[in-house]
Each structure stands twice: as structure tokens, then as C-alpha cells.
Subunit: 258 residues, 4 copies
Amino acid sequence: MKINGKTFIVTGGASGLGLETSRHLSSLGANIFIMDMNEENGRKVVEELGSDKTMFSSVDITLEDSVKLSLEHCLKKFKEIHGVINCAGIAAAMRVVKRDGEIHPLDLFTRVVMVNLIGTFNVIRLVADIINKQNKSNDEEEKGVFIMTASIAAFEGQVGQSAYSASKSGVVGMTLPMAREFATLKIRINTIAPGTFETPMIGMLPQTAIKSINDSIPFPSRMGKPKEYAFLCQHLIENTYINGEVIRLDGALRLSKL
Amino acid sequence: MKINGKTFIVTGGASGLGLETSRHLSSLGANIFIMDMNEENGRKVVEELGSDKTMFSSVDITLEDSVKLSLEHCLKKFKEIHGVINCAGIAAAMRVVKRDGEIHPLDLFTRVVMVNLIGTFNVIRLVADIINKQNKSNDEEEKGVFIMTASIAAFEGQVGQSAYSASKSGVVGMTLPMAREFATLKIRINTIAPGTFETPMIGMLPQTAIKSINDSIPFPSRMGKPKEYAFLCQHLIENTYINGEVIRLDGALRLSKL
Amino acid sequence: MKINGKTFIVTGGASGLGLETSRHLSSLGANIFIMDMNEENGRKVVEELGSDKTMFSSVDITLEDSVKLSLEHCLKKFKEIHGVINCAGIAAAMRVVKRDGEIHPLDLFTRVVMVNLIGTFNVIRLVADIINKQNKSNDEEEKGVFIMTASIAAFEGQVGQSAYSASKSGVVGMTLPMAREFATLKIRINTIAPGTFETPMIGMLPQTAIKSINDSIPFPSRMGKPKEYAFLCQHLIENTYINGEVIRLDGALRLSKL
Amino acid sequence: MKINGKTFIVTGGASGLGLETSRHLSSLGANIFIMDMNEENGRKVVEELGSDKTMFSSVDITLEDSVKLSLEHCLKKFKEIHGVINCAGIAAAMRVVKRDGEIHPLDLFTRVVMVNLIGTFNVIRLVADIINKQNKSNDEEEKGVFIMTASIAAFEGQVGQSAYSASKSGVVGMTLPMAREFATLKIRINTIAPGTFETPMIGMLPQTAIKSINDSIPFPSRMGKPKEYAFLCQHLIENTYINGEVIRLDGALRLSKL
Ligand SMILES: NC(=O)c1ccc[n+]([C@@H]2O[C@H](COP(=O)([O-])OP(=O)(O)OC[C@H]3O[C@@H](n4cnc5c(N)ncnc54)[C@H](O)[C@@H]3O)[C@@H](O)[C@H]2O)c1
Ligand SMILES: NC(=O)c1ccc[n+]([C@@H]2O[C@H](COP(=O)([O-])OP(=O)(O)OC[C@H]3O[C@@H](n4cnc5c(N)ncnc54)[C@H](O)[C@@H]3O)[C@@H](O)[C@H]2O)c1
Ligand SMILES: NC(=O)c1ccc[n+]([C@@H]2O[C@H](COP(=O)([O-])OP(=O)(O)OC[C@H]3O[C@@H](n4cnc5c(N)ncnc54)[C@H](O)[C@@H]3O)[C@@H](O)[C@H]2O)c1
Ligand SMILES: NC(=O)c1ccc[n+]([C@@H]2O[C@H](COP(=O)([O-])OP(=O)(O)OC[C@H]3O[C@@H](n4cnc5c(N)ncnc54)[C@H](O)[C@@H]3O)[C@@H](O)[C@H]2O)c1
């Protein structure tokens, strides 16, 4: 799909990977509709990218009505939707059973799965319906493109990541069945599994932790730059033959047990 | 781990794969504690296997208190717990967007993930805590064994399986991080990904559907027998070196798009 | 890595995926050095792309001396080498034991593995040595980029593909250890696993076979275009953070048993 | 398949995993035919297990005639063949390009692939032909069972393992296409991917290396015992529904880069 002139929803677009993707797709001529809970950041992005081609909507992606209402605003402003980049997500680090005997709260597990997996599905199902109803195919072949964000923790989760890994491998596993379904709607869907990226999610770590992460990454031996994630999003939108695939973006990192 | 004399919880043990596993482990000398919502079936199993070595508890695995209370009953009767076979689960078949425009209800997605993924986690975290507190290691090396049940739909989900695939790949993805954590507790955890098995979950299909499923399975060209699932459970309990692994049990079936 | 002004070796560059990749990288300003056994085609490509920026060398990639000599020619003309796109490969379709009792010749198996796996390794090891000795890092970070070509038959090979699947999964499996090694050389390596592409390798099939292949591909429901492969190569060269990864390029196709 | 009274070929049966598997299957009542290059060890095994139910044949599995002749001896003694456990294999550790500039010899790569991949295929194709011609199905359903031995280096090969990883991932990749083909012959085929096992292949390492390997294995935090491998072989023979699958047997180990 050609990017220029198209409209993309970026969930979690107010920070980190989503923010950089919003910038990048905007610079390529796309309209950007950001769904995020962080109003302050959201408004800043619109200021930065310009309110003619960008819009922010305060949304909790786990809530049916919140997303529905937001999509109405999006359609009112941009008329059509051509894809979603799903970046909204939360991390969590907690052992199932800690050494001191504390047990992983069920609520925490549920919350992580709710946002990362169920929230992602919630947005996609509602947008798929809208794209399906948009009459004309935009490019010769395609009507829409979805990108989901998993994590390499989906494949080799570490100690403390049972909830996060479960939520992200859930995303990995629903990629193919959705690609198979969306074939008749002329929508593609792929997933990016990032390694460790320089974003606010990671930024709070102490300097020594960051050094040790960098050392564990084969090459390039540093965290990923959000621009590199955004660049892969661009390719996944533009290359029509990639579908139903999950791509690791990690400098050849494989997560060790700790 | 040797099976004779040990106590295993079997969730979903009142029907299908869990029922057959209860029978099999019981025949090998284990105490069986069944957690299931189906009281009628549950009571029948206890009758069949004998109430001295078997107990049924009416539990919804998604509910924290329900499982906790049930575990107290289990400990009262059997004193110790050595493992869980997680078979409780539900299926669902629904397109994200149907041809008639109907959209996959968010509730349905949430319910499937709640039971298959979050319910599984709920039971494991509470039992891991109990096993951790049991003083003595039962065998030379091991204090506990967990088996989770995914599905090959975790890997190549079909049209209509986005919720089911998501829930089951979530189980697949949390296998390794939990194995890594449970190492210090001397607990192993593995997952079985069944193909298509002759159970009530499948049994309602019309004869022609069953014939076409059988034809799609390379060899043996028939559905799996619950006994074959139970037999693999036995091996996963007995073979101490299998850990953090997901095993397909499917007669070499790979699910096609429809 | 920026492509303009760099020199890439394309094995199998005289036909199909390699040919289109040669054209594409050339159009982006790269020097192209084609290693192929097909002299006639090879010379045509040089004519098409211009002998100042393109060179053809008649090489059998399985032969140590043939590749070594060829690399000397390459260095004489272009001074430096920055990467290899490994497209040289052969297909084979033969049952292990045919219905009429004929057995898969060992030679055929060996030949397929020799070209697709060992030939690929032969070129990479010799070029890695050259890049390692080139003094200055070309871009800020990277000295070289390798791309190997596997096939989705590496993951779900069909009847008759034991040799081909073995050779291609061999390529898949050596991607990560090579990425880990090449980290110290500042070289990245990734693998593309194409589905079914419109090339001479496929072109000889009858029209009905092609129709049935197309129908099996979810979306886009047609064979891949070599341009789409070349476009992914471009991205793998340009996106510095993708390393040690294998990417399916297949329109969400999963190969069924036949 | 029931093991008692059946005849199994064990390649590499004179040492390590193959030796222990020979012992184990023999103790379960099987006839064992060992193909190995190590005559001294081979003769010892026959002495140990008894020459009525065991036979050794000095074979290089890479050679067509050597294997063919040996199979004639096997049939003469045991009349029928019901399966092969492929354990013959060699390891190799060599960087593609060493720090001192030495390049991985092509011969070494070829030799490793020749033994581990092509040799495995060579034995299987010839035995599949024999089993196919044996008139009666031995059990109700099955005529034969094959087990191949890969390695977890097929999935996350380390520095120095490009040849070994390539050969073992080749084995992984041909598992499914062979299972699909052998379906019509009523033969199952599966692959075991061992982690690190206490065998002569590993035994030569210094004590510190062994300690560091053990520490890297989550649980049980020690090398695998050949008995555990043999035990999984037993299960793969006995459980009719496991087919086309690759099973990691590694105590939840994931290989890090070094
Ligand atoms: N940064 C990394 O290293 C890394 C690695 C692997 C995967 N990821 C994934 O990438 C995605 C983006 O991560 P990031 O590093 O940019 O994080 P981030 O915290 O910088 O940004 C995430 C954004 O999502 C928003 N958000 C969270 N919950 C939401 C909800 N319920 N509804 C709407 N918006 C919500 C937050 O407000 C925030 O703006 C996440 O899904 C994360 O799991 C990140
Ligand atoms: N049968 C198959 O072909 C197949 C294939 C792949 C995976 N599986 C999985 O195997 C497992 C067992 O399946 P089955 O075929 O035996 O199904 P089944 O329906 O025969 O048995 C499932 C049991 O789980 C119980 N259960 C459901 N929800 C529960 C809850 N919230 N709390 C407690 N108990 C609950 C049910 O009452 C039932 O007794 C499931 O997880 C299923 O997804 C089955
Ligand atoms: N076309 C497809 O559908 C498809 C699908 C999956 C993978 N692939 C892989 O993509 C690669 C390119 O395939 P293609 O379709 O372009 O095939 P192609 O036959 O059009 O081109 C392959 C080229 O490799 C050359 N070659 C073969 N053996 C060689 C040797 N020993 N030394 C040097 N050159 C040699 C041939 O001369 C030919 O020019 C192959 O590795 C193939 O296995 C192709
Ligand atoms: N030991 C481990 O930690 C480990 C780990 C992963 C995989 N494996 C694999 O398991 C298999 C068995 O390994 P092991 O540790 O028992 O090794 P081992 O060296 O103890 O035994 C291998 C046997 O194979 C025989 N052999 C080698 N080449 C042969 C040939 N061309 N023809 C016939 N026989 C040949 C040897 O003579 C030897 O008896 C190998 O394939 C190995 O790659 C072993």
C-alpha cells in the first residue's frame, strides 16, 4: 500500500515506538490518528505534526465504547481509514511466586493481557469492520493493513515475564488466523516482535542495567532506535506480499533466562 | 517424577482429555483431584475411580476464591500436591467480521482468553505457591510438575479461531518463562498442543465434518484418542529432562486456512 | 547500510529472484557482481544494467576455487565488497519411496544440499573473510550485510520435498549462529523464506497447477512478484536492527501436505 | 507400536545416546541392529546385550553400499525391520572466520552435513523401502517408526556451530515432509532435539566447562542422562499419535550466543 494520503491509526502513538511511527508515517504524507491514554503527550504530538494531518483521541483501547466513539471522530475528520499500527501496551515484571512467598496477583496478569492482547483485538475488530464497509479498494489490491506489536518475550520470556509473555504470544498466535480471515476483506496483518528499544518503557532503568542489556545484543550492540521500528512499519505497509508474518527486530538478541 | 502415590489436580477432569487423564493417572496409582464446573460429570468420575483416591470440586478456574477454597479441600484430603494437568478450556468459532457484517463480540474474545489463558495461570500460580511451601522434595530432584494444554491452533489458527488461537498461543508463550522461574522451586512445566481429539468438544460435529477432518490428518488418519493424550501426560511427568517445551500431538496435521 | 555506491554480490543473479534483485539494487546505485552458472543470461544482465556498474562471473558456488577466483575479479573491478544476496539454488521434487518402489537417489539429495546449503556457506565464508579484512567500516556501524534465501518449505515441506526442505531448513538454522559470529565483524545476516514466486523455477508449471497454487495463497491471492522479494532485500540492507532473523514472504501461505 | 519382539536399527548405537537406547529397547524385548563405525565398541555392545537379540554391523552411514549390505545382514538375521533410531552423528566447532584470519574449511562443513544430514537420509530412505515391502502391518495401524536426532543448536546455534546447526536444522526441516510422505506407508517419523547430554561427545570437556554448562540449564540443572533420551525414544515408538514433531529434551535450556 502506498502511504501518502492514507490514514493510519496509531494506538499508543503518544510515546515511544508509536510516537516515532506517527512521526515517520506523517513525514511520508499519511494522516495520523492517535489513540492513547496519555492526553498531555497526545496533544504535544498533534502540535508537533500539525492538526490538519494529525488528530489525538483520549482512548483506553480495552473499552468498547471508548474506541467506538473515537473511531467516529476519526472518520469525521479523515473520511477513511487504511490501517492500524497497534503500539499501545504495558509491561510488567513479577514472579509467579516470589522468594518471600508473595504470589503474582491475578489482577496484574489480567490487566496486562487486557491491554496488550484484548485491547489490540478490540481496536482491530472495529477497524476491520469499517475498512470492510469502505466501498472502493484504495490501491489496486489492498483495502487495509494492520501491524501488531508483540515482543521477543513472546518466544523466550524471562523470569518475571509470565504475564507479559502470555499477552505478547497471544498477539503472535492470532496473527495468522486473522490474516487468513482478512484475506477476503483485502486486509493484510503482520506483527513486529521488538527486542529492547530506547523508549520511556525502558528508559527508567539504571545505567548499569542498560550497559548489560547492550552487551547482550549481538549486533548492533545497542538498543533499537524507535526509528528502526518505524522504518519496518513502513516496509510492512509498502510490501504487499508480506502477510500473516511475525518479524523479530532485535539485533539477533535471544533472551536468556534472567 | 514417579506417579504412584502422588497427588495431581486435573482441571477440566470431568470430561474429554482431562477425564481420560484422570483415569490413566489413577490407574497408575495417583490421587486425583478434579476441578471442573460440571458437577454431574465430576461426581460420576469419583464414583468410577473411587472416592478414596479421587475427589471432585466444583470450581470455576477463572475465580480466585473458588480455586483457593478448592485447594484447601484438596490439601485436607491428600495432604500434598505434586502437579496439575490443566485441561479446563472452552472453544469458540467466530469470524472477526462476518460476511453479514456482524462483528466478533469483545465479550466472547475476553471469555475465551479468561478461561483458557488466565484461568490456567490462576490455578498454576496458587499451586506453585503450595508446592513451594511443601517441605520435602518428593523425588530426589523434583517437587512438582505442571502440564498445560494449548492446541495446534496456537501455531496455525484457522478462520474463526482468533480468540481461541490467541488464548492458546498465550499458553504456549508463558511455558518457557514459567519453566525458567520454577527452576528454583524444582518444578517442571510443559505444554501439550493437541491436534483434533475425539472428545465431547469435537463430538457434536456432523459425520461429514468428521470424515473431512480425518482425511486431513496424515497418519494415523483419524482423530486422536484421549488415551494418547493421557499417555503423553504420563511421559511428561516421568521424564525429568523435558522442561519448558511445547509438544504437538496431532498425527502430523497442519491446519489449513479453512 | 546505505545502498548507493556499495558493491553487492548476487549469486543466482542471472535469473528469477536474483535477477530482479540485481536490477533493483542497481537502480538504487549499487555495483552488482553476479555469480551464476548460466553464462548466456549472465551476459544479458550486464548488457541491461551496464558494464560499468555490473559484472558477471561464471561460477559454480559449490566449488571453492571457482568462487575464490571470481572474488578476485570482483575486487579488481569494484575494490570492496559490502554484501551478498544468496539466490543461487535448485529445486527438486522426488518422493523418498515412490509408489512404484523407486527410491530417492542419494545423489539427488546430495546435489540439492550441495548447492542450496553448502554452496551458500561456501560463498559467505569467503566473502566474510574479505569484508573482515577491508579496513574501514563503511557506514558508521556496519561493514557488511548478507541475505540468504530459504523457502517456506523449510517449515512445512510437502510430499516430494525432503531434499529441498532439508537444504533450506539448513539455511534457516545457520542464520543465527552466523549472525552471532559476524557480530564481531560488524556484519549482519538474515534469511528470506519465499512462498511461491513467478520465476523460471515455477514458470514451467501447467496453467491449472498455477491456478491451484494461487487459490491456496490467502492474500494477495497470486504468486509473489520478484520485485517484492527485491524490495524486502532492500529493507534488510537498509534497516540496521534486523539481524539473525528469517522472514517469510508468502502472502500468508502455509503449505499443505500435498 | 509395541516394542517387544520388534527389530530396531540404531545408528551410532555403539556409543552415547545410541548405546543407551540400544540397551533400553533391548531391555524392553526388541532386537537391536547397530550400525556404527566404531567396531570395538560395537562388538562390546553385542557381548553385553547378547548376540541372539543384538547384531553389530560396521557401517559408514554416508555410504550407499555400506548401508545396503548391512541391511541385508539385518534382514537375514531378524527377518523384518520396524524402525530406525538415528543417533550416528559428529560435532564440530569452528568459526566461519577466526580472529587470526583462518577460514572455516569447506571440507569440514561438508563432512558434518554429510554425516548428520545426508547420512541420516541415506539410512531412512533405504529402510523405508524395506518396511514398505514388508507385507503385513505389524500392529493394527503401524508398519514402522523412525526417530532422528537433531540438537537444540538447530534452533539457537552458538558461535562456532554454523556447520553443526546447519546439519541439525536440516534434519528438523525434513521431519515434516517425510512424515507427510510416509503416511501412506504407515510409518511415523519424529525428531528429538537434545540439549547437552553426558556422553563421550561431551565428556572430553574440562570440569569448569561442565560446571558452567550445568549452571546454564534451568532445571534439572545438570546434563541430560542418556537414559532420559532413551526413555523419550520409547515413548515416541509407543505413542501412535505423535508424528512429524520435533521435541526439545533440554531441561528448558536455551543456548546463549557463546
Ligand atoms: N520498548 C521496548 O523495548 C519494547 C520491546 C518489546 C515490545 N515493546 C512493545 O512495544 C509497544 C510500545 O512500547 P513503548 O516502548 O513505545 O512503550 P511506551 O510506554 O513508551 O508507550 C506506550 C503507549 O501506550 C499507551 N497506552 C498504554 N495503555 C493504553 C491503553 N489501555 N489505551 C491506550 N493507550 C495505552 C501509553 O499511554 C503510552 O503512550 C508496547 O506494546 C510494548 O509492549 C516495547
Ligand atoms: N478435543 C480437541 O480436539 C482439542 C484440541 C486441541 C486442544 N484441546 C484442548 O484440550 C482441553 C480439553 O478439551 P476437551 O476436548 O477435553 O474438552 P471438554 O469440553 O470435553 O472438557 C473440558 C472440561 O473443562 C471444563 N471447564 C470449562 N471451563 C471451565 C472453567 N472455567 N472452570 C472449570 N472447568 C471448566 C468443562 O466443564 C469440561 O468438563 C481444552 O483446553 C481444549 O481447548 C482440545
Ligand atoms: N521461485 C520460487 O517460488 C521460490 C520459492 C522459494 C524459494 N526460492 C529460492 O529462491 C532462489 C532463487 O530461485 P529462482 O526462482 O529465482 O530460481 P531460478 O532458477 O530462476 O534462478 C536460480 C539461479 O541460480 C543459478 N544457479 C543454480 N545452481 C547454481 C550453482 N551451483 N552455482 C551458481 N549458480 C547457480 C541458476 O543458473 C539460476 O540462474 C532459490 O534458492 C530458490 O530455491 C524460490
Ligand atoms: N551428547 C550431546 O550433548 C548431544 C547434544 C545434541 C545432539 N546430540 C546428537 O546425538 C547423537 C548422538 O550423540 P552422542 O553424544 O551419543 O555421540 P557419540 O560420539 O557418543 O556417539 C556417536 C556415534 O556415532 C558413530 N558415528 C559417527 N559417524 C558415523 C558414521 N558416518 N557412520 C556410522 N556411525 C557413525 C560414532 O562412531 C559413535 O559411536 C549425535 O547425532 C549428536 O549430534 C548429542
